[in-house]
């Protein structure tokens, strides 16, 4: 009996990100598609940051989940269109906030890239995920992983991660 595309989606629905386990790969927008390829089912994933060390772990996790559930499918990595945090689901953003990570803003329009660079960082208000205050400051553009920046809340004094728009 062949496995359907719906069954494969269902098998992978709850597979969590290895680095931020409160959010699923589907919520993150990494799991792009399940489709019928020439040699059977294909699970399409898209890499986040070029240097993200979690990507090979993610591929392994998908393979072993499929294997455990007896589903035969190939994992295909697709670069274009490039992954963007705009693909993150609303429920995914809510889960991040509840976990203490401020979810990403919308990415700036492509033609604004150069202007976006020189805009002062404080122009972006990042609400604190703990108390909701917008009185926050960036303490580093890069946090514990490439996808996050370090912020500090001036009101509740808590440091927090901000999932950067990408």
């Amino acid at each position: 009996m062949t496995t359907s595309i719906e069954e494969t989606w269902a098998a992978l629905a709850d597979l969590a990100d290895p680095e931020i386990p409160v959010i699923s790969l589907r919520d993150l927008g990494i799991l792009r598609d399940v489709r019928a390829g020439a040699e059977g089912l294909e699970v399409v994933i898209t890499p986040t940051y070029s240097g993200c060390p979690a990507m090979s772990q993610i591929e392994d996790d998908i393979r072993s989940t499929l294997k455990n559930k007896g589903i035969s499918a190939r994992v295909v990595t697709q670069l274009a269109p490039a992954w963007t945090t705009d693909w993150m689901t609303e429920s995914g953003k809510e889960k991040l906030r509840a976990y203490g990570i401020a979810p990403p803003h919308q990415t700036p329009a492509a033609h604004n890239v150069v202007r976006f660079i020189s805009r002062p960082a404080k122009a972006e208000a990042v609400p604190c995920p703990h108390c909701g205050s917008s009185n926050t400051v960036v303490s580093s553009q890069f946090g514990s992983t490439a996808c996050k920046a370090l912020y500090k809340c001036q009101d509740c004094q808590e440091p927090f991660d901000y999932f950067k728009p990408y």
Partner: protein, 260 residues
Amino acid sequence: MSTATDYLLHLADNALVLGQRNAEWCGHGPILEEDIALSNVSLDLIGQARLLYQLVASLQGGDATEDKLAYFRDTGEFRNYTLLELPHSGPLSGYAHASLDYGTTIVRNFLYSALMALLWEALEKSANADLAAIASKSLKEVRYHLRHSRDWLVRLGDGTDESHARTQAALDHLMPYTQEFWTGSPAEAAAFAAGIGVDLQTLKADWDGIVDGALTEATLKRPLLEGYVSEGKKGLHSEHLGFLLAEMQSLARAHPNGNW
């Protein structure tokens, strides 16, 4: 005869060599946040290099792999800008007391990121769809690298007398190497003719705008460009690249079929 792979290797070697250089700060950053930031920038750069080497390997076919391209080519086969292989020691840091000068690191990352923010954007329209896809990803990453290095350029330039002097010295030392950006190479000309690459001259006015705007804010003076034009992208390197490659490649060469 230059081919697409020569141009892709130039882009890949740029990313790998600067990624390796910046990784030297891992565990030695001036503050914890900067240690982490530069390690993240390195991961992005090495990730970009991997994507490009994988593309070159697929074009070359046979037994070519990304690891062979990174670990088993010698100095003369690397096609990176000379700017990116220079050590992190500026003229004022002196050999005796500092081999890692943060001003030098920041100035270099700023000058290169300003170029790549424009070049990756232009390469999104490359006739090579794989390169265009890598460019779209890399553009998102270099945007943060540029913002990071620009912030620190302003902070150090418009900082204390000591930080200002060291950053100005780093700028005077490194800026002449950016002449290599604007001096063509056979690989770039061939890539442009094939629709894969970009005419760098079309990016110069925007690069000057980014650089001059930041230098003014940082109260730094842009040095005059004169004298020797480096030719790392043609395979003619400084003495520093050999040492960098020796450190980076020694493990893979000691265990040529190693797997970990």
